[in-house]
């Protein structure tokens, strides 16, 4: 197991290094930082000072070396726009996103497993048809459009829910509700397909021959076997949410890391962008490890 983690960490590290290099050179490619950050009416003297302070007159490789050196000390620099350490800005936003992702994925996973399993138990039955159709529509809906329609109906039309912010429980309902739909649709389909296979397998036949009741057959014998492909999809969806649900966060004014990244890119606040990439990359690495761990826990045949 340890050597597996080490191997995975090494692979992720390579990706991270590539990311760091890419972000650095992209940030230089998009133009002279002095011209970008300072207002256009700034004097030549101010520009020179700005370059001096930020070491922009040094050769590009020296700048890159300094940048890497700072990173190794977990120093991401300051957010140019917010005049605060970038790491701090990102951590705050990331915590919001993390909460949103965890709550949403927990709800999605629980609901999708129950609905998908029950649909698979009576294939072609009434419940199955309803579940299949809903999940298909759910998986097909553009989330930002659903968000807009939801705002029109629940906030503007009915006046039940606030449109943006994070102040109370009510503020969370719309973002979570909207983010719920697509992963739910996708995961229900996978659960259903996987459960149909598991329920028609030989070991379920054995369980029936043993006189085991229906509920443990579905939720003990079949489900654990059926979960393997499901776990993969859950991981993909969770990763997408951890990257920040950019569009949804923007629409609902949710101060998460996705909105922060987009804003920072548009404002060329690259220190923030870099910190955000690093933190989400690490979060996704940890989550992938958890997914692999879940595999090993679910299926004793898997050994790393």
């Amino acid at each position: 197991m340890m050597s597996f983690i080490r191997k995975r960490a090494f692979a992720s590290l390579i990706s991270l290094i590539l990311l760091v290099v890419a972000v650095f050179f992209l940030s230089r490619l998009t133009g002279d930082p002095a011209a970008l950050y300072l207002p256009s009416e700034a004097s030549e003297e101010m520009r020179r000072q700005f370059r001096e302070i930020h070491g922009l007159n040094d050769p590009i490789l020296v700048q890159f070396g300094r940048y890497v050196w700072d990173l190794l000390h977990l120093d991401f620099g300051d957010s140019v726009r917010r005049a605060r350490p970038a790491f701090e800005v990102v951590s705050e936003a990331f915590l919001w996103t993390l909460q949103l992702a965890v709550i949403t994925m927990t709800l999605v996973t629980a609901a999708a497993i129950v609905v998908g399993s029950l649909a698979a138990f009576r294939v072609g039955g009434f419940f199955d048809r309803i579940a299949s159709l809903t999940s298909l529509i759910g998986a097909s809906a553009p989330d930002f459009w659903v968000a807009i329609v939801a705002i029109v109906v629940f906030s503007v039309g009915l006046g039940w829910l606030p449109t943006s912010g994070t102040g109370s429980v009510w503020h969370w309902i719309l973002p979570i509700g909207v983010l719920f739909i697509r992963p739910f649709g996708l995961i229900v389909q996978v659960v259903r397909g996987s459960m149909i296979n598991a329920l028609s397998s030989a070991y379920v036949k054995t369980a029936r021959a043993k006189g085991v009741r229906t509920r443990p057959i579905i939720f003990v014998h079949a489900l654990r076997n059926a979960m393997l492909p499901v776990i993969t999809v859950i991981g993909d969806q969770a990763a997408a949410l951890l990257n920040g649900a950019v569009v949804i966060e923007t629409i609902f004014g949710f101060p998460g890391v996705g909105k922060l990244m987009i804003d920072s890119i548009l404002q060329r606040d690259f220190n923030v962008v870099l910190a955000a990439i690093m933190i989400t990359a690490i979060a996704i690495f940890i989550m992938n490890l958890l997914i692999d761990l879940a595999y090993a826990l679910l299926d004793p045949r898997i050994r790393y």
Binding site: L26, P142, I148, T250
Partner: protein, 304 residues
């Protein structure tokens, strides 16, 4: 006289598929709808291009279902009084071109790389897989934002960005399938006959893998459409005066409270298209598999 010379020719696949499509009415409806979308994508701009651009200040935000203006205004008009139906029809081309182009290139490149990774030696395979890991570890939306920001938003750049982010999907699937299929007995049988690696990959492995990849590509078409519309919605995708469905939703957002139809109809177009793609993909999964095909052929017989 013996019956030696009566080997019949292979059955006409077109007739077969038509019959199987007839058996699944949902898939049939999906195919009909997608055909309509495709036709509109081809003829749309030449047919309604002018109408869709012509501003009409008296018809600003005209509500839908007002018959007296003529059928083009049936879905209402936008903030500049341009008929929404015409604009949706015209936007079809860009929407389809971006999604189609991205799916085509990512599927082509991903499949070729996946086949190579699967059938070549372990070292080449590992190198290609690392490449996929790197692409996967970039948050795809972020990658798109950064690249589009640097290169400038255009249809071609959008296609390139979306294609790159989707390559790993095909690469991983193709490789996993090749690794499994190459161990199958019929591949060994082909080797015994002296078949070259190229023949084995293209004649034996690819046909087995292709239906899976086509099914994924259909599903992915829906995904890419949603991604494109998200980018356009964020304002970093297609730029006006070009239009796509995603951009139309974005443009209608500021009139949410007064004219919901501006965003609603293009969203519905997206939903119907992605839903059709999902249905088609589900049908393909059965129709392209000779061992599953009978399900559809049986149903067709009973219906007919």
């Amino acid at each position: 006289m013996t019956s030696i010379d009566i080997i019949p020719d292979e059955p006409k696949p077109l007739v077969r598929f038509a019959r199987m499509l007839w058996a699944d009415k949902f898939a049939l409806a999906a195919v009909l709808f997608l055909t309509l979308v495709l036709v509109l994508a081809v003829i749309g701009p030449t047919w309604l291009g002018e109408v869709a651009q012509k501003q009409n200040l008296r018809g600003r935000n005209a509500p839908p279902f007002e018959w007296e203006r003529g059928w083009l205004w049936i879905l209402g008009a936008d903030a500049l009084g341009r008929p929404l139906l015409a604009r949706i029809v015209v936007a079809t081309q860009n929407t389809m071109m971006v999604a189609g182009g991205a799916v085509f290139f990512s599927a082509l490149i991903g499949t070729v790389l996946g086949l190579v990774a699967g059938y070549a030696g372990p070292r080449t395979g590992q190198a290609i897989m690392r490449l996929a890991d790197v692409i996967m570890s970039f948050p795809s939306l972020l990658l798109a934002v950064v690249v589009l920001y640097i290169l400038g938003p255009s249809i071609l750049n959008l296609v390139i960005v979306l294609a790159i982010t989707r390559i790993p999907v095909y690469l991983r699937t193709a490789r996993a399938e090749v690794l499994e299929v190459r161990e199958r007995m019929f591949v060994q049988a082909a080797r015994v006959m002296g078949a070259s690696p190229r023949r084995i990959v293209f004649r034996h492995i690819l046909p087995v893998v292709l239906p899976t990849l086509m099914t994924i590509a259909t599903l992915d078409f829906a995904f890419v459409m949603l991604a494109e519309s998200s980018l356009s919605f964020l304002g970093i995708g297609i730029q006006p005066p070009e239009i796509t469905w995603g951009l139309m939703i974005s443009q209608g957002r500021q009139y949410l409270t007064t004219a919901w139809w501006l965003s609603f109809w293009p969203g519905l177009a997206i939903i119907l298209t992605t839903l059709s793609l999902n249905l088609l993909s589900g049908w393909m999964r059965i129709a392209l598999d000779p061992t599953q095909r009978w399900r559809l052929e049986m149903r067709g017989r009973r219906n007919g």
